[in-house]
Symmetry: C2
Subunit: 223 residues, 2 copies
DNA sequence: TACTAATATAAGGTTGACCCAAAAACCGGG
DNA sequence: CCCGGTTTTTGGGTCAACCTTATATTAGTA
């Protein structure tokens, strides 16, 4: 017998599954595998193991979805992750785009007692530095990807969802952080970038990236 | 490719080897194995692997000792461990005797950037809550195990060295924490416990435990 | 010196998390 | 309804870290 519960890997699978579940219901295993950087075969194996433990359901050729228990576990991991991000960013002063990776390591080594104490220490924060909610489920009113903002509409950036260092870094460079107010002037032709007006200047952002940036709509049309 | 450097296990071996090295120069593998809770065979295997990587030297039938590099690695792990202990105890307010175990998990998931930032955040502490030094090598003036305090002598408890939750818990119960001033009244016969006078009352402590509590001598004889 | 207890090695197993290559099952478009 | 591309399964490997049960080696002591 090693650790009490399961390991880093399992937690990563659940966490990732949870992240992808937000998009379309049954996530194909290949997507999971891609995101985790493992082969489809390996992912399938692990999915089976997790399914046996009742953490997720696998409908062959359709995809996977988390069970109640699996979702809970995943939520805990995500919570730890975001709490650490808060700590690393707010208290330790590490750069915005770096905290994700450090938190990825810590999230698996955090006991429940530490999690709770950390949460209290940070004053029960409601969102990580990238705007992702910390406590209850996602929800929140009228939130959608930036890529769906209509031309002329104005919105506030609230979160960066499927996070990745390169994306975070890119956004930081553009100064497109949660809290920023943007207006979509136009979408360049041929799947071109979105042209955004912000109070720090004009910004261009690709559709791919924009799909990962979530906004809260302020107005549909220009003032 | 998995993690960049080596894994938790290797770090634990090095850390433990370093802890035991303080006592007698070449540590027998069996001692290492015992402390890590693995079989002697497993420990031997791992020792070979680590020796191949030049992290420690193994003299058959005599024991092991860390190389320069190995010692450095071990020191880094220990440093991370103690920094986390400080954080958990001072900032998160977790109990004195519990922080060790939580820190044991975190120490392997801490990137250099986080270590440095944490150190700064804590104001570059010089010792963990149990009194073990954080930065440079152990040293410090005139430090010895409580078990070597002469009868009648007075000393200050400075650190608990080979740490274990049960020991820490026991000491906490007795209120024998670093900073406490004690006078050895007598040693009960037949390898009996030490009888200590403290400003919180009389305390009895076994010789085993006393060997793990380090003191700084104040006076050799009663005032 | 010869013996015993500690130490080391050898041999063979297990488990988790990966990999590849190839075969089989499936789904949807033409 | 059939064919091609995606997905899954099958079979066979690797590697690290463990395990047990022997068998050898050695150090220290009687």
């Amino acid at each position: 017998m090693k650790h009490d519960s399961f390991h880093e890997s399992a937690e990563m699978y659940l966490k990732t599954a949870s992240e992808l579940a937000g998009c379309n219901a049954p996530t194909p295993i290949s997507t999971l595998a891609g995101r985790l950087g493992v082969s489809a075969v390996s992912a399938t194996e692990m999915v089976h193991r997790l399914a046996e433990q009742g953490l997720l359901a696998h409908q062959p050729y359709r995809g996977i979805s988390l069970t109640e228990t699996g979702q809970q576990l995943a939520d805990e991991v995500v919570r730890r992750h975001r709490l650490w991000e808060c700590f690393l960013y707010e208290r330790l002063g590490l750069p915005w785009h770096e905290v994700h990776d450090h938190a990825c390591r810590l999230e698996h080594a955090t006991t429940p007692a530490v999690t709770e104490a950390l949460d209290a220490f940070l004053g029960h924060p409601v969102a990580c530095p990238h705007g992702n909610p910390i406590c209850g489920r996602a929800g929140a009113p009228a939130e959608r990807p930036l890529s769906e903002l209509p031309v002329g509409g104005t919105a506030v950036l609230v979160r960066v969802h499927p996070e990745s260092e390169s994306l975070l870094c890119y956004l930081a460079e553009l100064d497109l952080l949660p809290g920023r107010r943007v207006t979509l002037r136009e979408i360049a032709p041929y799947q071109g970038p979105l042209v955004l007006l912000t109070d720090v200047g004009v910004r261009y952002i690709g559709r791919e990236a924009a799909a990962h940036v979530h906004i809260r709509l302020l107005t549909e049309d220009p003032a």
